[in-house]
């Protein structure tokens, strides 16, 4: 269960997230949409405390992940991040072999049994629909893959540490339509096992891949509902204006 309760976030004096309340449905895809700078990425990154890295960030309110407020004192952030996978806008494999990219998360988390690692790597690559394409070249550099393959590798890498939640920040915006379609197909498969939050600039993409959609505007959550509802009959005029392109 993931939930944001009265969440406020400040970058220094700038109030970037304003009193957000949102319960994410498990094993489903929730899309975050909204105009540039509305706080989608910021909100996404509160779930694995990636915002901690930015100096001057102040957070108020609670984020509950699996019945635990992840912003309370004494939380082991590394452990939290292991439970919450993340995929970025540009494919960003490490400068290692394909195998080692996927194995990395396990190694840094203290797994050293090579057999276990090997199985998990295969498993993750299969889940991310990449296994067939790379099974004969696991030792090759990850940079030898195409952009779309790299992105699926990054997804496999995130899956290998067995997260329950996947955060994706515009995971297909750097890819061509065909690779994008593959990633979308993959997301659709993955939601059977994972709770997925995805930021996207592409409204059609949000429509295609997500079950729920949250519309942000100027740091506020304007509307949160079934994706079908958001795209056929949103409750708020602002949302309607945004999805129909009558905005700004």
């Amino acid at each position: 269960m993931i939930e944001a309760k009265n969440l406020n976030l400040y970058y220094g004096a700038f109030h970037a997230l304003k009193d957000i309340n949102l319960k994410v449905a498990e094993k489903s895809v929730t899309a975050l949409i909204g105009p540039s700078g509305c706080g989608k990425s910021t909100f996404l990154r509160t779930f694995n405390r990636m915002n901690d890295l930015i100096p001057g960030v102040k957070i108020e309110g609670d984020i509950i992940v699996d019945d635990e407020n992840i912003y309370q004192k004494g939380i082991d952030v590394d452990r939290l991040r292991k439970r919450v996978g993340m995929v970025f806008q540009k494919p960003n494999p490490f400068a290692k072999s394909i195998f080692e990219n996927v194995a990395y998360g396990m190694r840094v988390n203290g797994i050293s049994n090579e057999k276990v690692i090997k199985e998990a790597v295969e498993q993750s690559l299969k889940q991310s629909a990449l296994w067939d394409e790379v099974k004969d070249s696991l030792k090759k550099s990850a940079y030898a893959l195409s952009g779309g393959q790299q992105q699926r590798l990054c997804i496999a890498r995130a899956l290998a540490v067995e997260p329950t939640i996947l955060l994706m920040d515009e995971p297909a915006s750097a890819l061509d339509p065909i690779s994008t379609a593959k990633i979308e197909e993959l997301i659709h498969e993955l939601k059977k096992k994972y709770t997925i939050l995805i930021v996207t600039h592409n409204m059609q993409q949000a429509a295609r891949v997500s079950d729920f959609t949250a519309f942000f505007y100027m740091g506020s959550l304007i509307e949160y509902d079934l994706t079908k509802t958001i795209f056929t009959n949103p409750a708020k005029q602002q949302t309607q204006n945004y999805v129909t392109g009558r905005f700004g």
Partner: protein, 288 residues
């Protein structure tokens, strides 16, 4: 033991080692500066800067050395700056992508790595002896100029390379010629970087000793140059002489501290200017 605790402990140990090493290092580096500033500060007076050396360089000032260094810097930049920038432009904008371009770049890189004493040897052999300039400002400037040349070329090249090719294409697409594009679009955008590089290379040139050792520097010359074929004193050489081979090393120590501090101040000022340029000009140029 729980792996996450091991992780935390390892991190704490590693970070603290780095912290301690950094503190030690900063302390050392800072004490060098502090030492020279502290010892030298009392010698820096108006007289010190504007007077001739006196009494076997134990008294008086370093005026001729300052003038010498300034004239060498000016001379070398007159040579190196236009040549370097033009050369950088040619390499980045005009040179066809083939063996020839690689060759020129290789040569430039090699020249950049050549030790300064070798420039000294070369300058002496070519300018002093073969071209018969003798020990002179022109021989020294040319030597220093060649030393600075690859640096300026590289800076120019990097500055030009960092400009996206769509800016050039946008200009061509408006019907501009290649030269118009370079002069009106590419150069203005890369100028802050080129200028920063230029200023840092001035810093380097003004502190070099080895190349002027045999091409221009005078041990003791309490008068100002009148032509480019004169010898001059120069600050770095002056410091070297004072601290190693002065006739009266103990008594000239104070002069040495003063000279060292002047050199540091010059570098400081140049760095400051470079930072200002980087900060203010770049802000105008940089994309958000």
């Amino acid at each position: 033991m729980n792996h996450s605790i091991i992780k935390k402990i390892t991190q704490a140990i590693a970070f603290n080692i780095f912290r301690i090493m950094s503190v030690i290092l900063v302390a050392i580096l800072f004490s060098i500066l502090a030492f020279i500033v502290y010892r030298g500060a009392s010698y820096i007076t108006w007289d010190f800067i504007t007077k001739m050396p006196e009494e076997g360089m134990t008294k008086g000032g370093i005026f001729p050395a300052i003038v010498g260094t300034l004239s060498l810097v000016a001379g070398s930049m007159i040579v190196a700056f236009p040549l370097g920038v033009c050369s950088g432009i040619y390499i980045n904008e005009y040179a066809p992508e083939n063996g020839f371009k690689r060759f020129i770049k290789l040569m430039t890189n090699n020249l950049a790595g050549v030790p300064s004493i070798v420039f000294g040897l070369f300058g002496m052999s070519l300018f002093v002896n073969t071209l018969k300039f003798g020990d002179s400002i022109i021989a020294g400037s040319l030597t220093l100029g060649l030393l600075a040349l690859p640096v300026i070329i590289r800076v120019t090249e990097e500055a030009l390379k960092s400009i996206d090719k769509t800016y050039r294409e946008a200009s061509y697409a408006l019907g501009a010629t290649k030269l118009q594009t370079i002069v009106k679009v590419v150069l203005p955008m890369s100028m802050p970087n080129i200028l920063t590089g230029l200023i840092l290379s001035i810093g380097r040139v003004s502190g070099e000793t080895a190349p002027i050792l045999f091409t221009v520097a005078a041990y003791f010359l309490p008068k100002l140059p009148t032509s480019i074929f004169d010898q001059v004193m120069a600050l770095p050489y002056h410091l070297y002489v004072l601290s190693t081979s002065g006739t009266n090393m103990e008594e000239s120590r104070g002069m040495a501290y003063g000279t060292a501090l002047v050199l540091i101040i010059i570098v400081l000022i140049l760095n400051l200017i470079a930072n200002i340029i980087r900060h203010f000009l770049m802000k105008k140029i940089k994309h958000k």
